[in-house]
Amino acid sequence: MIPGSFSYHRPASVADAVKLLSDLGEDARPLAGGHSLVPMMKLRLASPAHLIDLHGIAGLKGIRRDGNNLLIGAMTTQHDLLESQEVAGSVPILCEAALLIADPQVRYRGTIGGNVANGDPGNDMPALMMTLGATYRLEGPQGAREVAAADFYQGAYFTILEPGEILTSVSVPVPAAGHGYAYEKLKRKVGDYATAAAAVVLTMAGGKVATCTIGLTNVHETPLLAVDAAKAVIGTSLDAAALKKAASAAEAIMSPAADARGPVEYRKHVGGIMVTRALQRAATKAT
């Protein structure tokens, strides 16, 4: 539980950080909150020769409304999210999910950028960002680009980030007024990753589901959008048959690993239940 030696860098701008990452190549890793990277380093599962600490870059932190989008700087902490009136008012599901991430000490340190960029299937924010239709801003040696969250994740700890690229901000389209939302997460204890979790954002019209998006956490090597499950409830009043159909459709795309949280069958089964419960609770919040 003692990391190997490394050089520490603290650039003051994104350009400097990108340059460092490019120059130092694969031996360098950007450091945000450190709650994924540092434990890996302590286990010597990761041994970067250079850490590029992003805390010195002032422009990477903060939350602001930009038209119909919420812009969140990559170095914004989960605690900052929870403190933000803007987030609570416009995308409250972010607060609900952030409260289920680890514990207050971790949330003071852990960042949105780190959570979504690391590609850890256990992290909560990626599925949520896919559900909300968010885009990520990536800045690298070739300039900046915007990528949909849904296109970002390619495998466990494997994303479309190119060498030298840094995820600098997240843009979240503000859901329609009166939308319903829920993030249902089953975990063994505070601080644990989800055994299975489901995010739902929907709108209701005349007692029936008008629009619906469903995201799934930690039931596959990447976060998932449960497209068929969402389709299954549109136009329904979330009756038992529709809920069952949605849960089955969601379970069909899950492929969790067996681990101490339970065997595959259990994790899929409760994944379906999380979808059901998230749909029901989201519907009660929609106006």
């Binding site: 003692i2 204890k189 101490a260």
Partner: protein, 806 residues
């Protein structure tokens, strides 16, 4: 008498003696981060050691190459078994009469076993060195399942024992067999079963878990070559035993070894034994001439130092049709891992597991325990329980529920019917113990009345009907547990560790101004001894507890004692304190008689001093007697006021309790909620009710963790898969249920102040309460026994296996 004269109540309260909820004096430093732990020990030139550990559960070590490690800046030495052989320390004796490799000697027998010890100028360099040591292994087939350990073709684990058909505890039946321990009357018990109207039989497993104190095991060893003296600061629950063991195995004179246990951050049995880290740090200090620190990390603590439990108990109860038990038969398969490193009193290979008849009047019983080797970490320590008592309590309390189910009786009723009756104490159990005292019926009835047990059963019946009708997916369980602990090891007639009788000790030295210092052979790891020991003295000799300084843990200054574990401190050292205090009081009485110019028989004790019988105005306070003891003692008397007592207890003490857990389980997810938990404890005389409550809260939290998920688990290949607090369930305040505590008081008749132990009772009694609640919840669906731990997915699986989930 003017208004300023304190009343008797005020004088008593000023002492903060026994029965007072005195605030913990040690918390002043702990809550300010000012404790002094082993890792706070920093000596000039101190080096740091770290282990190369085996990735394999079973393998031959072909070679160890340290060349590259020694090139790492700061790395000074790499110690291997070959190095240790030069000082005859490659192997060390265990407390259980076995031997254990200090560093891998030819082969490794469990994953994360210590292979080499790298010594460097700082912890980072040591770890860099660890990563550069190249070990060549030839993997061997691992033996993981204890039930396969004695198969004819099971791999040979302990080649060092080849040809040894007898171990420390008698004959060995197989190359992986350690001992067989039999107690009770087999013939009579078999006869009871052949005549039984009703019998149950169930294999009840208590899974492997770990005490997991927040502070891991650690030490600093400093060898002074000039004086030939070794000083060891360490996380030791039994510092004197460590000193003696070091003296015996390192062949150093005992007076040249100084063992200091500073503040300890939790022990729970994990810090009783001796570990390779201590030996390696000591050898490294002797080799380098510099102090060497070894600090375990979390993974090492969970996977290498001293697991607990791992008992697989095939249990049978015979009974009459109307529910009177007539016999108990238990066979235990005990998985000890690669070496038998249990920390039990030496003559007890399965600890006090023969308390397994519990609180019930079994006319006959028979017990056999087979200990076996597997490719797992060694240990088998008493995790917040007296030796193997929590396994025994779980075994009998689960089995009584199974019998109640078979008889279609309420589990509380079956217990009430079979309790040892108050008039039967002292009670001789079928497996050889003499229970000192108890009033089980009163405790059980108080639990049932306070919790509204009958109403809860009614609610459960209604919920079951609602479940059957499909109106709810939640089931409700009531977990009844009534345990009898056996604590206070122990009487010299049957308890020793490596031949040292398990007495304990206290030395009290009063100062002229009416203050004093008390030193003990015990060692607090959070139990609050500095607070409670002073309270006993306060009541015994009438000096305010605040004026008594309590000191433990330094073998140079403390009287010899066997340490703190197995809830033995109050039953043994607590008695020594009272006895030492009474010696002080006896001398004080002579001084007071001299000063008051009366015969000592004319004096009587009154709260904080002596008074002349019939003349209540003629008094001498203990404070004034202390002064007199140093300047005007009676002619012929030595000055001074101090006393030492070594207490060899005549018997164990037998605390008991009645617990109830009310639990709701969502069958679709397996998620449970502990709706209510009530714990009534009877630990005899209560020294500090607040500390008792804290102990009960802590022990129940551990019991909750163990029953509901805390497990050291190995996969089929022998890899340990629960090496961090992510997967090893350590509940936080969020998961921990609310605890309701209660008590009755049945003093121990043989203990000077009537006290029993309490620290471990909640762990012992708590585990069956939780497990019985889960089993009770599922019983109406057809379950007889569901193995622990009862984590979410296993609850769901139970529901699924019973057809309650599609």
């Amino acid at each position: 008498m003017n208004d300023m004269t304190p009343t008797r109540e005020q004088r008593t309260a000023a002492l903060e003696g026994m029965g007072c909820k005195r605030k913990r004096v040690e918390d002043v430093r702990f809550t300010q981060g000012k404790g002094n732990y082993v890792d706070d020990v920093k000596l000039p030139g101190m080096l740091h050691g770290d282990f190369v550990r085996s990735p394999h559960p079973h393998a031959r070590v072909k070679s160890i190459n340290s060349e590259e490690a020694l090139k790492v800046p700061g790395v000074l030495a790499v110690i291997t078994a070959e190095t240790l052989k030069t000082v005859n320390l490659a192997w060390m004796p265990t407390l259980a009469g076995d031997v254990q490799m200090v560093l891998a000697d030819g082969k490794v027998l469990f994953q994360n076993q210590e292979v080499a010890f790298v010594v460097a100028t700082d912890r980072y360099a040591a770890d860099d060195g660890v990563n550069k040591v190249v070990v060549e292994y030839e993997p061997l087939p691992p033996l993981v399942d204890p039930f396969k350990s004695m198969d004819p073709d099971a791999p040979v684990l302990r080649e060092d024992l080849a040809g040894k058909t007898t171990g420390a505890h008698g004959p060995r039946k197989h190359h992986n067999h350690i001992f067989e321990w039999k107690v009770g009357d087999k013939e009579l018990t078999d006869a009871a079963f052949s005549k039984a109207e009703v019998a149950i039989k169930e294999m009840i497993s208590y899974h492997r878990t770990h005490p997991s104190p927040l502070e891991t095991c650690q030490c600093v060893c400093s060898f002074d070559k000039v004086k030939g003296e070794l000083t060891i600061w360490g996380t030791f629950q039994a510092p004197h035993v460590i000193r003696t063991v070091v003296s015996l195995i390192a062949k150093l004179p005992e007076q040249k070894i100084h063992v200091i246990a500073p503040d300890i951050g939790g022990g729970f049995g994990n810090k009783v034994g001796a570990y390779p880290g201590y030996i390696c740090a000591a050898v490294a200090s002797i080799v380098t001439g510099k102090p060497v620190k070894w600090v375990e990390d979390r993974i090492e603590n969970l996977t290498a130092t001293s697991f607990a439990r791992d008992y697989h108990m095939t249990t049978e109860i015979a009974a009459t049709r109307d529910g009177k038990v007539t016999g108990l038969r238990v066979h235990v398969l005990a998985d000890h891992g690669a070496f038998d490193a249990c920390a039990d009193p030496s003559k007890w290979p399965a600890g006090f597991f023969n308390i397994v008849t519990g609180s019930y009047d079994f006319p006959t019983a028979h017990l056999a325990v087979d200990g076996v080797y597997t490719n797992k970490a060694p240990g088998g320590v008493a995790y917040r329980c007296s030796f193997r008592v929590t396994e025994a309590a779980y075994c009998i309390e689960r089995a009584m529920d199974i019998m109640a189910q078979k008889l279609n009786m309420d589990p509380a009723e079956l217990r009430l019917k079979n309790f040892i009756k108050p008039e039967q104490f002292p009670y001789h159990s079928a497996l050889g113990w003499e229970y000192d005292s108890g009033d089980y019926h009163t405790a059980m009835r108080k639990m049932m009345e306070t919790t509204g047990y009958a109403a809860l059963r009614k609610e459960q019946a209604e919920k079951r009907e609602a479940f059957r009708r499909g109106e709810t997916r939640e089931i409700m369980g009531l977990g009844v547990s009534f345990f009898t602990e056996i604590v206070g090891a122990g009487p010299s007639k049957n308890c020793d560790i490596l031949g040292i009788a398990m007495f304990d000790s206290c030395e009290i030295r009063m100062h002229p101004t009416g203050a004093g210092i008390a030193r003990m052979g015990t060692k607090s790891q959070g139990q609050g001894h500095e607070t409670t020991w002073a309270q006993i003295i306060a009541t015994e000799i009438g000096i305010p507890a605040d004026n008594i300084q309590v000191e433990e843990g330094n073998t140079d200054t403390a009287p010899y004692g066997l340490g703190t574990y197995g809830s033995r401190s109050t039953p043994v050292a607590g008695a020594a304190i009272a006895m030492a205090a009474r010696k002080i009081k006896a001398k004080a009485q002579m001084i007071a008689a001299y000063k008051l110019e009366v015969h000592e028989d004319d004096l009587e004790w009154d709260i904080d001093g002596f008074r002349v019988k019939g003349l209540p105005e003629r008094t001498m306070s203990m404070k004034d007697i202390c002064w007199a003891a140093y300047n005007s003692v009676p002619p012929g008397m030595e000055p001074g006021l101090e006393a030492v007592s070594y207490y060899d207890p005549p018997n164990m003490t037998y605390p008991f309790g009645a617990y109830l857990c009310v639990m709701d389980i969502d069958v679709d997810t397996g998620v449970y909620k502990v709706r209510r938990f009530y714990a009534l404890d009877d630990c005899g005389t209560r020294i500090n009710p607040m500390i008792i409550e804290g102990q009960v809260h802590g022990g129940l939290t551990e019991a909750f963790a163990i029953a509901m998920g805390q497990e050291i688990r190995y996969d089929d290949d022998g890899n340990v898969v629960t090496g961090s607090f992510m997967d090893f369930f350590m509940p936080t305040a969020v998961e921990t249920p609310h605890w309701e505590t209660d008590f009755t008081v049945t003093p121990s008749p043989h203990h000077p102040i009537g006290a029993k132990g309490v620290g471990e009772s909640p762990n012992v009694g708590g585990v069956p309460a939780f497990s019985n609640a889960v089993n009770d919840a599922f019983s109406f669906l057809g379950a007889t026994h569901i193995q622990m731990p009862h984590d979410y997915w296993r609850n769901w699986k139970a529901a699924k296996d019973l057809g309650a989930v599609a």
